[in-house]
């Protein structure tokens, strides 16, 4: 039986990939993402955290792009290119982990709210609604300020403020799945809560979850940059802290466009790539969005 399941799964993955690769925008997004992630992962082979250390920044201050510093330097003479490279590690790490955290909380609570009717479900739903109406940026600022600045606290601050929309989405899907007759059959055969939620509901919401998480990473990266720009950072160079630095040290008045533009463009590029990927995933996985097969 299990070999049969695997064959089925492999086929569905193949079908999915076949469908996905026809989406040009999605493929471009995926390509950019792979490049960005690979670059971030191999960075330690070439450079170390020293490139973000002001003490080792010996170049000219706010120097325009040159051979030594292809993307110019910042207010302490550090190479913008190397800082962007090293900073991508922080930005991407926080983006991925915050999205993951948000996804886990959102899935657990979403399925719980959809599966358990009655008072338990109602309470979970009300809590979700309550979090949904909290202004998430302000909440994240306050949380990060209370917890103090470290990578983990920024991840937590973003994660715990961005899960409600995922939870809502998952709950709706759970309700739809649980309305199907085979769930009723399963119940009649004596299936418990655990069996139904993990064996039947979870696999059915998973594709949607994947698409939503991909989009969530994009918004987490933007939130991280926003927080960093507003002064809440993990004491590590990220694209957001670079933007803040350019603002604090008057890069605009000094005419140092490279210091403002490059981190900004990097954020745009990566967020765009995640969004393209997420949209493509959504279209492939959600039958309702699928156009008639060409």
């Amino acid at each position: 039986m299990s070999s049969l399941t695997w064959v089925r799964r492999r086929r569905s993955v193949e079908r999915f990939w076949g469908d996905f690769r026809t989406r040009k925008a999605g493929m471009i997004g995926l390509g950019v993402l792979v490049v960005a992630v690979v670059l971030a992962l191999i960075a330690p082979l070439f450079i170390d955290a020293g490139v973000t250390n002001v003490v080792s920044g010996t170049g000219e201050k706010m120097a325009p792009p040159s051979l030594d510093a292809p993307l110019g330097t910042d207010e302490s003479g550090r190479s913008v290119l190397l800082m962007i490279w090293w900073g991508s590690r922080t930005s991407l790490l926080i983006g991925f982990l915050a999205a993951l955290l948000s996804m886990v909380i959102g899935t657990v609570l979403g399925i719980a709210a959809g599966h358990f009717r009655g008072w338990a479900g109602a309470i979970v739903l009300r809590v979700t609604d309550w979090f949904l109406v909290l202004p998430s940026l302000v909440t994240a600022l306050v949380l990060a300020a209370i917890l103090g600045g470290s990578t983990a606290t920024i991840i937590i601050a973003i994660g715990v403020t961005s899960w409600p929309s995922t939870a809502r989405l998952i709950r709706a899907q759970t309700l739809a799945v649980e309305a199907r007759p085979y769930i009723e059959r399963s119940l009649a055969l004596g299936a418990g809560h655990w069996h139904i939620t993990t064996r039947h509901v979870l696999p059915n919401v998973a594709p949607l979850l994947l698409a939503s998480t991909t989009l969530e990473v994009a918004s987490a990266i933007v939130t991280e940059s926003t927080l960093a720009f507003l002064g809440v950072s993990a004491n590590k160079t990220s694209w957001g802290t670079m933007l803040r630095g350019s603002y604090d040290w008057g890069a605009a008045t000094a005419g140092a466009w490279w210091y403002i533009l490059i981190p900004g463009l990097c954020i745009v590029l990566v967020v765009m790539a995640f969004t393209l990927c997420g949209r493509a995933l959504e279209t492939v996985l959600n039958p309702r969005l699928r156009t008639r097969a060409a």
């Binding site: 600022l141 300020a145 600045g149």
Partner: protein, 597 residues
Amino acid sequence: MIRKCLAVLAAIGLLSLPGTANAAEPGRKVVKVGVTQAVDSMNPFLAVRLVSGQLQRWTYAFLTVPDAKTLQPSPDLAESWTTSPDGLTWTFKIRTAKWSDGQPITADDAAWTFTKMMTDDAAKAGNGPAVENFASVTASGQDLTIKLKAPQASMLDIPVAIVPKHVWEKVPDIGKFEADQVPAVGSGPYVVTEYKKDQFVRLAANKDYWRGAPKIDELQMIFYDNPAASIVGLKKGDIDLIGRLAPPDFESLKGDDNLVQWNAEGRRATYLQVNHGATTSDNKPIGDGHPALKDPRVRQALHYAIDKQKLVDETQNGLARPADGSIIPPLYKSFFWEASGAEKITYNVAKANEILDAAGYKKGADGIRTMPDGSKKLQFRFSIHTDAPSEEKLAEYLTGWFKELGIQLTARRLDSSKFTEETGTTALFDIAISGWSVNPDPEEVLGTHLCSRRPTASGEGGGTESFYCDPQYETLYKQQQKELDRTKRADIIKKMEQRLYVDAPVIALYYPNDLEGYRKDRIASITPIPEDKGILYGGSGYWPFYTVEAVSQDAAAEDGGGSSTGLIAGIAGAVVVLALGGFVLARRRQGAADERE
């Protein structure tokens, strides 16, 4: 962080705001001073902020005033004075002059002012320590007699504004009195004629001032929510002068032909406060400072690892002087002390590493040193303020240098009230940034490192800047208090600075310059204090604004009227500014140590 967004919005709003205070009539000479600090109180018994201190200097006479040239005490309301041989009885002869309402000034006014501070706890809020040592104050005619409990060398620099008894004795509760009715009765070169909280203060020249009326008719103080808005105000001509600028704001004045960039020695010292084992005033440990910092050798190694010149260049745009001394800046020549010879600590990482190696702090596999007993890694927190780019940059440099020592430093950003609490009372810090604006008589700043200033057992803050408690320092402090000979006293004070330098409960980093800007198409001349390259706004004394000479309005009367689109934008902006400004100010109200005089 949130304040920053608001500040930006407020700046945008203010760009389009029409003139803040009433337009001047032609022929009247008006000088407008911009400030970014809110007045905490117009009541001299309560106010602690620098801006309020300036207003007091302009509107009330003090017993003495620092001389414009030498900064040594010189006669003000007190014409002359004598001291008994034991130094315990001081007699001041009060000048024959009039209050701005025409009543004569007598010694009785001064005696009432001091007695009020000695007897009413509410009246001690502003300047309580100044009269701590007073046993009694009596008046007879124009003679004021102050009897002391112990000799006190700083008697000629009492920072207390003398208020008119006939007005103030009717005040029922001094602690709740805002003193904001106008015209206020005073005895300084100016009289407050209008006051709108957080908007402006108008001061008319006191025609009956005993030194002679000032050269201008009116002085206005205009309040801004943030430096960016005030810079725009200066460039537009809404204000004529602004003091206490941060280096980037100062540099943004460059290139405007109408503006004078004023860059002189400042009265402030910026230093690191090291938690060397904080204790309360009953000698019980308090807080969670790192045990390694109790070791003077570690503190000395940290001192060796700081490149002060680099800090000045990078965080202060070169507009400061690296500190080879202690907490008293070089502006005060007679009290300034600087290390020299073998004692002088210069940037030397190798030497710092040697000191730590010799002291037994071994580097682990990760490059970070541990305590000699291996119990704890040398990982320190560095407390700085939120929204302070220069402090962030400072933290980055210290982190970089300390890393080369095998010490890990992590910046901790705190908002100002939490910062003040953690570094001044609860001692929940390892290393913190701090600074102090020093008066011509340094007793106040020296006092911030006394045992008695540490927080009490019940956790009440005593105003310590270091939690320092050192027998040698205490003895020297008592000696200088008794020493009435200025030169001998200066020698003792220098020994105290030396002690602070060597023992390093605080590590002086640099002395920021006094950075100001004014419009030369409005201000014809202004004399700083001290006269030779001194301070304009924020100095101790009224000289700059007493001597200020305005360019007559006729010469500069070609103001264009604001266009109507500008007005509409201005009104829209003003609504935003009012809403947000209220919020910002509400937050600002909790004064930071940074803002105190």
